[in-house]
């Protein structure tokens, strides 16, 4: 087998793949699920969005400019920041900025650590490495942030009387906030720990599969995957902690009070 065994796909190949979606559509029709339109739209969006990003990436790769890579990174972080705050059923003013800053910090720290110290990418903004790696960190960190955020806001809302009881007996804001903050960070870290447990047994990660399809030696692909898993673990842990601290700062004031009225239910 050739080392660069990547088989290029043509339009016909994609059409054959589209036939697979048609199978799903047929199931929907047959059972009267009325999902055909949504399925069609979803398939169309998949094609359009991916083609679009494919062209953007090709353009950025060719441009090879730090500002372009940085621009793409900021857009990605912004999108992830929005996605992270969609899931929690409670919100507060400034939540997007905090989610964005959390992802900016954790995304850049973990990605640049890996590209600079592990892979040794030269120059630092080599898009081929930086953008996919950042994407993977963001995709997973946003789940951690979302879970941490959801739990903390729910706990501060639901267990408000317990938190206020602690404050009323002389707890500092940090002493009163600690139990829910710790639990929130725990909740945020669990998914990545779970996937590290079963990786390679239950699931073959997409990146590794992709590298193997592209002709890479499986062991090389595995080494990259290990780095990626660790990077994601660090990202999720940092993200869960940082967002919890941001929420803590926003919902407890200097007078050591829980500002419960700042929490809004959607």
């Amino acid at each position: 087998m050739a080392e660069t065994g990547l088989i290029s796909l043509g339009a016909t190949d994609l059409l054959i793949a589209a036939a697979l979606v048609a199978v799903a559509g047929a199931v929907s029709l047959l059972l009267g699920l009325r999902l055909e339109r949504r399925l069609g739209l979803a398939a169309l969006r998949t094609v359009v969005q991916l083609l679009l990003i494919g062209h953007v990436l090709r353009w950025v790769f060719a441009l090879d400019e730090a500002w372009a890579v940085l621009g793409i990174m900021i857009v990605m972080i912004g999108a992830a920041g929005r996605a992270a705050i969609q899931r929690p059923s409670r919100t507060f003013t400034g939540i997007f900025a905090e989610s964005f800053l959390t992802l900016l910090l954790t995304g850049l720290v973990t990605t640049l650590t890996v590209t600079h110290f592990v892979i040794g990418v030269q120059p630092w903004h080599e898009a081929r490495y930086v953008i996919p790696l950042l994407g993977m960190v963001l995709g997973n960190t946003l789940t951690g942030i979302s879970l941490s955020l959801d739990h903390l806001l729910e706990a501060l809302d639901r267990d408000r009387s317990t938190v206020e009881m602690e404050l009323a007996h002389g707890a500092s804001r940090w002493e009163a906030a600690q139990p829910p903050v710790r639990e929130a960070v725990r909740k945020g870290m669990i998914p990545i720990i779970n996937s590290m447990m079963v990786v390679g047994i239950v699931s073959l990660p997409g990146m590794m599969t992709g590298q193997i399809l592209a002709g890479a030696d499986p062991l090389e692909a595995v080494k990259y995957q290990i780095v990626v898993m660790f990077m994601i673990a660090a990202g999720s842990a940092m993200g869960s902690i940082v967002i919890a601290l941001f929420v803590y700062r926003s919902l407890f004031d200097k007078q050591h009070r829980l500002r419960h009225e700042r929490i809004r239910t959607r």
Partner: protein, 217 residues
């Protein structure tokens, strides 16, 4: 022991609407003041404002020191607000009673023997200490919550209907223990009550909270 609590034009607003007229009064060490008023007049909120748990305007002073000067956690440890519906952290009753002694604002340590003694005086069995706090009945919980505050030997107790879930026998025991602390420790108490007789038993001083715009009695 004991400190003078001074409340000066204290009011709480939700949005632009004040919940009650600005309140001013003083509480000397060893004094009990019953706080009465119709439902929704803001009695609980007034207690929470004194304890600095909700944003408010006006002044609260403990021996002429502001909460800021004392430090908010330390201030709240000296002026303890006891909620009508007791809240507990997960764990046993003993852990809940000992909890506040682990805060940085605390300078004393938990005395299990004293806790057992007081528990019996409230008509509760010592075995209760090992029970999980969330399995307590409302009446038991109310007394444990009071005990939790008393053990910290506060200067001021802010009690929100402290005997609302108790039968007359346990109510009397609870009132006796509160009064003992008031007289023995020179602690003062501001007690929200619906019962004029309870106000009488606590010594008769009454502070009325009316609806906004209505003159106070």
């Amino acid at each position: 022991m004991g400190a003078r609590l001074r409340v000066e034009r204290l009011s709480v607003s939700f949005g632009a609407v004040p919940l009650f007229r600005a309140q001013s009064f003083e509480l000397e060490p060893g004094a009990v003041l019953a706080l009465i008023g119709p439902s929704g007049s803001g009695k609980s909120t007034l207690l929470r404002a004194i304890a600095q748990l909700v944003p408010s305007s006006g002044e609260v002073r403990l021996d002429e020191e502001s909460p800021e000067q004392i430090g908010w956690p330390r201030f709240r440890r000296r002026v303890i607000y006891v909620h009508q519906q007791p809240a507990f952290v997960p764990g046993s009753v003993a852990e809940n009673l000992a909890r506040a002694f682990s805060y940085r604002s605390s300078s004393s340590s938990f005395n299990a023997a004293e806790a057992s003694l007081q528990l019996e005086r409230l008509g509760l069995e010592v075995g209760l200490l090992a029970r999980l706090a969330h399995t307590l009945s409302v009446g038991e919980g109310q007394r444990i919550a009071l005990l939790r505050a008393l053990l910290l030997r506060p200067d001021v107790l802010l009690l929100d209907e402290p005997t609302s879930a108790l039968d007359p026998e346990h109510r009397d025991k609870t009132e006796a223990l509160i009064l003992e602390h008031v007289h023995g420790q020179r602690c003062s108490a501001l007690v929200v009550t619906h019962d004029p007789e309870q106000a009488q038993r606590f010594g008769g001083s009454v502070h009325k909270l009316g609806t906004p715009g209505v003159a106070d009695g």
